[in-house]
């Protein structure tokens, strides 16, 4: 490739440093009156196919990142995070009792439930609001989503094991563990409000 001449370099630097798109006339005035059209054409050709392009919009020239790379300007990053103990409990309660209000969730858990916990479950796509209960105060009620069933490989909520099965599996027995969990519940809530 041939080295750009001084005028091309000057136009390139001027447009690079410019704080807004510039007309050919403005560039020319900035560079002491030189005719910059050929330089603009050469630059546009040079940047063709690169990650940066020289474009003309409404007679004004500016550099921009190549349109096919626009996704680089705004990236999404996914962080994999484990559901907290408290959020898991709330999810389970919604799944077993839906539709259920927050007050009912708290009554079942026996622990106050941070607002953030339900937000996390909704962000995860597993819980949705399902209208309001027609009782005084018209509380919002929550239910699980098809994504919840899909994530846990369930055909329907009927596939959730019943209380008897849980007991048979020893999951209703560990009272000591439950006490520990109860003690930890406060800490879990704190985590969630962060999340």
């Amino acid at each position: 490739m041939s080295a750009p001449d001084d005028l091309v370099r000057a136009v390139e630097a001027t447009l690079f440093a410019a704080e807004e798109p510039m007309t050919a006339e403005a560039i020319s005035a900035h560079l002491g009156g030189a005719d910059v059209r050929a330089a603009l054409a050469e630059l546009a050709a040079h940047y063709e196919g690169r990650g940066v392009q020289l474009v003309e919009r409404g007679k004004r020239w500016h550099f921009q990142t190549a349109p096919d790379l626009a996704h680089l300007l705004r990236r999404e990053r996914e962080d994999v995070r484990r559901l907290s103990r408290a959020a898991t409990e709330v999810l389970a309660i919604v799944a077993y009792h839906e539709p259920v209000s927050r007050a009912e969730i708290e009554a079942i858990r026996g622990v106050q439930t941070a607002k953030g916990t339900l937000d996390v479950l909704m962000e995860a796509g597993w819980v949705r609001t399902a209208g309001r209960r027609e009782v005084p105060g018209r509380p919002v009620i929550y239910a699980t989503t098809p994504a919840f069933l899909a994530h846990f490989g369930l055909e329907s909520r009927k596939d959730l094991p019943g209380i008897d099965e849980l007991r048979a599996a020893g999951l209703l027995e560990p009272v000591d563990d439950a006490m520990v969990e109860l003690a930890l519940a406060g800490g879990d809530e704190g985590d969630e409000s962060d999340g």
């Binding site: 704080e19 962080d79 995070r81 959020a87 026996g110 849980l166 999951l171």
Partner: protein
């Protein structure tokens, strides 16, 4: 805050950098000398300037000559009654000491030797000079925002973070099991137990009072030879019965000391 400090017009003779009032507040008889004195940042700066006037490499300057030049300057400034900051005078005193030490016979020298002190002074001047030169070279470089420029209108990069939440089946089921286990209703079973009701205690105590005239301890109203649990119930009920009788004016209560035996007797009208 104003960053554009610019070159300060009257560089201080004082140790600080802001207090110097500048030439305007000074008498102007010998302005030529004054202008020379103006503009030094401390005694080391003045020394460096004097050393440079020897027009030799700083490593080859004559310290004795430098000391003399400095002392002459200070004397002239004092003669003009220019207000010299203390550190200029301290430096003058130290240089005078150094000079006399350098002129003394060698065997009387202490450690560090005056030659060593002179060398250190020379090193300090070199150091200051080097930093001054370095500063000038730094300031003269192609500076970002003055000589070279970054992109004027960068699009900017943004990263939106999303959480992908993880939870597995066992955790879910176990969590529910624990909620259930934790909140299962607790049933309290109260076993049937023998009690003495207040009514029966009341009739028992009042009938027994009716046959006694003297003080009687509450203990004596209790049924003997019974289950200890019934005894406790009887004691409680009898005590309440005694209070009730006292309230009705049918009995008097007495207790001589705290936790002492409670005694009662019939009120004879």
């Amino acid at each position: 805050m104003n960053l554009d400090l610019g070159p300060t017009p009257g560089l201080p003779l004082t140790g600080g950098e802001e207090e110097w009032e500048g030439p305007a507040s000074m008498p102007s008889e010998d302005s030529a000398l004054y202008l020379e004195l103006d503009g030094w940042e401390g005694p080391l700066d003045l020394l460096l300037d004097l050393a440079r006037r020897q027009k030799v490499d700083l490593r080859r300057i004559s310290i004795l000559e430098l000391v003399d030049q400095y002392l002459v300057y200070i004397e002239r400034a004092e003669a003009l009654r220019l207000e010299l900051a203390a550190d200029y005078l301290v430096m003058a005193a130290w240089l005078a000491y150094l000079k006399s030490a350098l002129l003394l016979p060698r065997e009387e020298q202490e450690d560090p030797s005056p030659e060593e002190l002179a060398l250190r002074l020379q090193m300090r001047l070199q150091r200051l000079s080097a930093m001054r030169e370095a500063a000038a070279r730094l300031m003269g470089r192609d500076r970002l925002g003055r000589d070279v420029f970054r992109r004027g209108m960068p699009e900017g990069l943004r990263t939106d973070r999303r959480n992908r939440w993880q939870c597995d089946w066992f955790d879910l089921i176990q969590a529910y099991g624990q909620v259930e286990a934790r909140t299962a209703p607790v049933v309290h079973v109260v076993r049937d137990r023998m009690v003495m009701t207040l009514d029966s205690a009341l009739s028992r105590v009042s009938s027994m009072l009716g046959v006694r005239l003297d003080w009687v301890e509450l203990q004596e109203f209790l049924p003997q030879h019974v289950d200890p649990r019934l005894r406790r119930s009887a004691l409680a009920s009898s005590f309440v019965a005694a209070l009730e009788l006292a309230r009705l004016g049918k009995a008097e209560l007495a207790q001589d000391e705290v936790f002492g035996p409670l005694r009662l007797r019939r009120v004879t009208a």
